[in-house]
C-alpha cells in the first residue's frame, strides 16, 4: 500500500511538473500562419449595440487576416477602468484596447502602452491637428478612431409647443441664460431650461479657450487661476434654484439618464456623438445640434477631440498582429460602414469617405462640418489623474446646486483637491 508521505510527494511532484510543462508550452512564435493563427485579446467598453457592431468588425478582420484570431471582451465604462487598473498592476493588459483620452497619460506616461510609431500603422489619412492628442512626449500611444465635438442639443418639437424660437447657435452666455429662463418660465416649470452647464468640465475648458487660456500647462500644472473658476461658476449664479436650471434633486433621481434624455430639460451641453443614445432615451423624433455660446463670436473655443482611441499593451507579444488590427479598425471603410457615428465621426479620411451617413448620423457629420472654420487644435492629453479631477468638478458643482457650499468655498475645495492630486502624481 502507498504510504501517506509517498502519496503527498507524488502529488507535489506532479503539480510542479505540470506547472513547468505548462510554462514550456508557451508559443515561441510571435507571428501566426493561416494553419496556426495567433490569438490577440481586444477589449472595449460600450453597450450591446456597440458589442454587436464590434463583433461584426472582428469577424470581417479575421476573414481578411486568417493568421490572426481576435478574442473580444467588453464591459461598461465605469467598470472598464477598474479592470484595466488591476490588470496593469498584474502585468496582464489585453493586447489591444479601446481607450479614452482622460486615461491616456495615466497609462502612457507609466509605460503601460506600446509606442505605436514603432509599428506599422497608416496615419496618412488623418487630420494633422488630431494626431497630437494621442501623443505624449514624442511617443504615439493612441490612434483616434473617431472625433466628437461639443454642442448644445435641443428638441425642436418641444420648443415649438412652447412657442419658443429655435436658437441658431450664435449666442452669448447671457443670451443662452435668457433662453433657458424663457423655457422654464413659459413651461411653468414643467420643462427646465437645461442642466447647469457650469458643472461640465469640458464646457469650462472651452470657455477658458474662448478666453485664450489653456486648462493645463505643458508641465502638467493648472493653467487657470481661482478667479477664472470663480467667474465661471458665477455665470449661472442667478439661474440656480429657478426653473431655468433643473434642481440637483431631480438630476440625482434621473441618473444614469441625463435630464435631457429623460425629457426633463430642454437643452443639454455635451458631446455630439451622444445623439443616438439621446434619441433612444427621449423617444424624440428629431434632435438638433447648435454650437456652444461664446462672448467672442470669432472664437468659439471648439475643437475636435478623439472620442476614443485604439491602444496596445506595452507588454504584448504580438506587436505585428496588434498593429494590423488597429490599422484595420481605424482605416478600413467597411468598419466605418459598420459603426457609422456610434463611435463618433470616423477620424481617418478613407474610412469617413467610405461610409454613407443618413438621418441622425448625417446630422452629427453635418454639425462637425458646420463648425469647421471655428475649430482649433485638439488639446494635449489631459494630466495624469484627470478622470478624478473631472469627477470632483462635477461633484463640487452639484454641491453648489444643492446650496451646500458657496462659490468661494467650492473654488477652494476644488483647487485643494486638484493641487493635492498634482502633487501626488508629480
Amino acid at each position: 500500500m502507498i504510504s501517506r508521505r509517498n502519496f503527498l510527494t507524488t502529488i507535489a511532484v506532479g503539480t510542479v511538473s505540470a506547472a513547468v510543462m505548462a510554462g514550456c508550452g508557451q508559443p515561441a512564435a510571435k507571428t501566426g500562419t493561416a494553419e496556426n493563427p495567433v490569438t490577440i485579446n481586444y477589449t472595449w467598453w460600450g453597450n450591446d449595440d456597440r458589442a454587436e457592431r464590434t463583433r461584426k468588425a472582428i469577424a470581417l478582420f479575421e476573414s481578411k487576416n486568417p493568421d490572426i484570431k481576435v478574442n473580444g471582451n467588453f464591459t461598461d465604462f465605469a467598470g472598464y477602468w477598474q479592470k484595466r487598473a488591476t490588470e496593469a498592476a498584474g502585468g496582464g493588459l489585453p493586447d489591444v484596447m479601446q481607450w479614452d483620452l482622460s486615461y491616456l497619460r495615466d497609462y502612457g506616461q507609466r509605460n503601460q502602452l506600446l509606442d505605436l510609431s514603432t509599428v506599422k500603422i497608416d496615419t496618412s489619412n488623418f487630420d494633422k491637428s488630431l494626431l497630437p492628442s494621442g501623443q505624449i512626449r514624442g511617443k504615439t500611444y493612441g490612434i483616434p478612431t473617431s472625433t466628437n465635438a461639443f454642442a448644445v442639443y435641443y428638441d425642436p418639437a418641444k420648443l415649438a409647443s412652447l412657442g419658443i424660437v429655435e436658437p441658431d447657435g450664435t449666442w452669448t452666455y447671457k443670451e443662452f441664460n435668457a433662453f433657458m429662463t424663457e423655457v422654464g418660465t413659459k413651461s411653468n416649470g414643467a420643462l427646465y431650461g437645461g442642466g447647469d452647464y457650469t458643472s461640465v468640465w469640458w464646457m469650462f475648458n472651452i470657455w477658458l479657450r474662448q478666453n485664450n487660456i489653456e486648462a493645463f500647462t505643458e508641465d502638467g500644472k493648472l493653467g487657470f487661476t481661482k478667479d477664472d473658476l470663480k467667474k465661471w461658476w458665477n455665470l449661472t449664479a442667478d439661474l440656480r434654484g429657478t426653473p431655468a436650471i433643473i434642481p440637483e434633486e431631480r438630476v440625482a433621481q434621473l441618473t444614469p439618464k441625463s435630464p435631457f434624455g429623460a425629457n426633463a430639460a430642454a437643452t443639454e451641453v455635451t458631446w455630439d456623438n451622444f445623439m443616438a443614445g439621446y434619441l433612444k432615451d427621449s423617444g424624440a423624433k428629431e434632435l438638433k445640434l447648435v454650437p456652444v455660446p461664446s462672448d467672442d463670436p470669432a472664437n468659439l473655443g471648439l475643437f475636435l477631440k478623439p472620442s476614443m482611441l485604439m491602444v496596445a499593451s506595452a507588454k504584448t507579444q504580438y506587436k505585428d498582429a496588434a498593429a494590423r488590427f488597429i490599422d484595420f479598425m481605424v482605416n478600413d471603410p467597411e468598419v466605418g460602414q459598420i459603426f457609422k457615428t456610434s463611435r463618433g465621426v470616423p477620424a481617418s479620411k478613407t474610412q469617413r469617405d467610405g461610409t454613407t451617413f443618413e438621418g441622425t448620423d448625417k446630422s452629427v457629420v453635418d454639425y462637425e462640418k458646420s463648425i469647421e472654420k471655428y475649430l482649433k487644435d485638439a488639446p494635449e492629453p489631459p494630466i495624469v489623474g484627470f478622470g478624478t479631477l473631472e469627477a470632483s468638478f462635477k461633484r463640487i458643482s452639484s454641491e453648489l446646486n444643492y446650496g451646500k457650499v458657496s462659490i468661494d468655498g467650492a473654488v477652494d475645495a476644488w483647487f485643494k483637491e486638484a493641487e493635492d492630486l498634482i502633487k501626488q502624481n508629480a
Binding site: A85, T86, A89, E249, Q253, P256, R395, L421
Partner: protein, 317 residues
C-alpha cells in the same frame, strides 16, 4: 472580516483536550493540522498575506503601476486634513449609532412576538426572516432606490398625509434615514439569534413573576433583559462591526459615487474610490488599517463595559 479567524482560533484553544499520552497527542495534532491544512493555506495566502502587504503599502505612495514609494506616516496624517475623509467618518458613525440600535430593537421586538405559541408561527418566522436573505443583494438596493424616488410609493404615501418631502434618493438630508431604514428592515439574522435566546429563558421565572403581580414591562426589564443579556451583547457586537463595513447598498444607491452631495459617502465606499478610481492604493490601505484599529478599539470597549450589564449563567451577581 478579520474578526472570524481570531474568534475561531480562540475557541479552539479554549477547548484544549485533556492530557493524554504524549505520543498519541502528537499524532492527533498532526492529523488535526492535516485536516486544517486547506483552510489554513487559504487563510495565510488569501487573508494574512494581503493584510501584511496592505500594512506595508499603507506607509507608501502606490499607484498600482510604479513600485511603491516609502513615505512613512504621510498617508495617516493627510487623512485628517482630507475633508471628504472626515465626511465619510461622520456619515459612517451616524449610520452605526442610529442604525444598529434601531435594528436590534426591531429584531428583539419581533423575536418576542414570534416567541409566543400561536398557530402558523413557523410561517411567520420564515416570512420575517426573508428580507435579510435578500436585503444585502444588489437587486434590493435597486428596488429601494425606486421605492424612495420621486413619486415612488414612499413619496406618495407621505403626500397622502400632507407631508411633501419629494423623493428621498435625490435629497441629501433624507438619504441617511433611507439607508438606516434599509438596514433596520434586514433584522432577520439578529432576530433568529434573539429567538433562540428567548427560548432558553425558563418559563417558571415568568410564572413566578406573574404570581407576584409583575406586569409585562416589569417582566421584560427584570427577567427578559438580564437573562438575554449575553445574546444582546453578541448581537450588538456583530451588528456594530457589520455596520462599519456597509458597502454594497451604498454603492448601488449612489451609483458608486457616495452622492448626493457626499451624503452616502460611507467609509468603505470612499476607501474603494480612493483605491480603484484614484489609484491611491497606499492611501486606501491606510484607511483600511485605521478602520481595523478603530473597530478593534470599539470591540475592546464593548467587552470592558459588558461586565456591568451582561449576566452569564453561573455568575455570582
Amino acid at each position: 472580516m478579520t474578526q472570524s479567524p481570531t474568534l475561531s482560533r480562540r475557541s479552539t484553544s479554549s477547548t484544549t483536550p485533556l492530557p493524554r499520552k504524549p505520543r498519541q497527542r502528537g499524532a492527533d495534532t498532526r492529523a488535526g493540522y492535516t485536516f486544517l491544512l486547506p483552510w489554513l493555506l487559504g487563510f495565510i495566502a488569501l487573508t494574512v498575506g494581503p493584510m501584511i502587504s496592505s500594512l506595508y503599502l499603507s506607509f507608501t505612495n502606490y499607484n498600482l503601476f510604479e513600485p511603491p514609494k516609502w513615505i512613512g506616516l504621510d498617508n495617516y496624517t493627510t487623512l485628517f486634513q482630507d475633508e471628504r475623509f472626515l465626511q465619510s467618518v461622520g456619515v459612517t458613525l451616524s449610520y452605526v449609532v442610529f442604525g444598529t440600535p434601531l435594528k436590534l430593537a426591531a429584531a428583539l421586538a419581533i423575536a418576542m412576538l414570534l416567541n409566543s405559541k400561536r398557530r402558523g408561527q413557523g410561517f411567520y418566522r420564515s416570512a420575517f426572516y426573508a428580507p435579510s436573505l435578500i436585503g444585502a443583494s444588489v437587486s434590493i438596493a435597486i428596488v429601494w432606490k425606486a421605492i424612495f424616488g420621486d413619486s415612488g410609493p414612499v413619496d406618495q404615501g407621505l403626500s397622502f398625509f400632507g407631508i411633501n418631502l419629494g423623493g428621498w434618493v435625490g435629497n441629501p438630508d433624507m438619504t441617511m434615514p433611507m439607508m438606516i431604514l434599509l438596514t433596520v428592515w434586514q433584522f432577520g439574522a439578529p432576530m433568529v439569534i434573539f429567538l433562540a435566546g428567548l427560548k432558553q429563558i425558563p418559563g417558571e421565572l415568568y410564572e413566578a413573576a406573574s404570581m407576584d403581580g409583575a406586569g409585562p414591562v416589569r417582566k421584560f426589564f427584570n427577567i427578559t433583559w438580564p437573562m438575554l443579556s449575553p445574546v444582546i451583547f453578541f448581537n450588538l457586537l456583530m451588528e456594530t462591526i457589520h455596520a462599519f463595513q456597509i458597502f454594497a447598498s451604498a454603492y448601488i444607491i449612489s451609483n458608486g459615487e457616495g452622492g448626493p452631495a457626499d451624503s452616502t459617502l460611507f467609509y468603505t465606499l470612499y476607501l474603494y474610490l480612493r483605491g480603484f478610481s484614484d489609484f491611491r492604493m497606499g492611501y486606501a490601505s491606510a484607511m483600511a488599517w485605521l478602520l481595523v484599529i478603530v473597530v478593534g478599539i470599539i470591540t475592546l470597549i464593548f467587552f470592558r463595559t459588558s461586565k456591568s450589564w451582561v449576566h452569564y449563567s453561573g455568575d455570582s451577581k
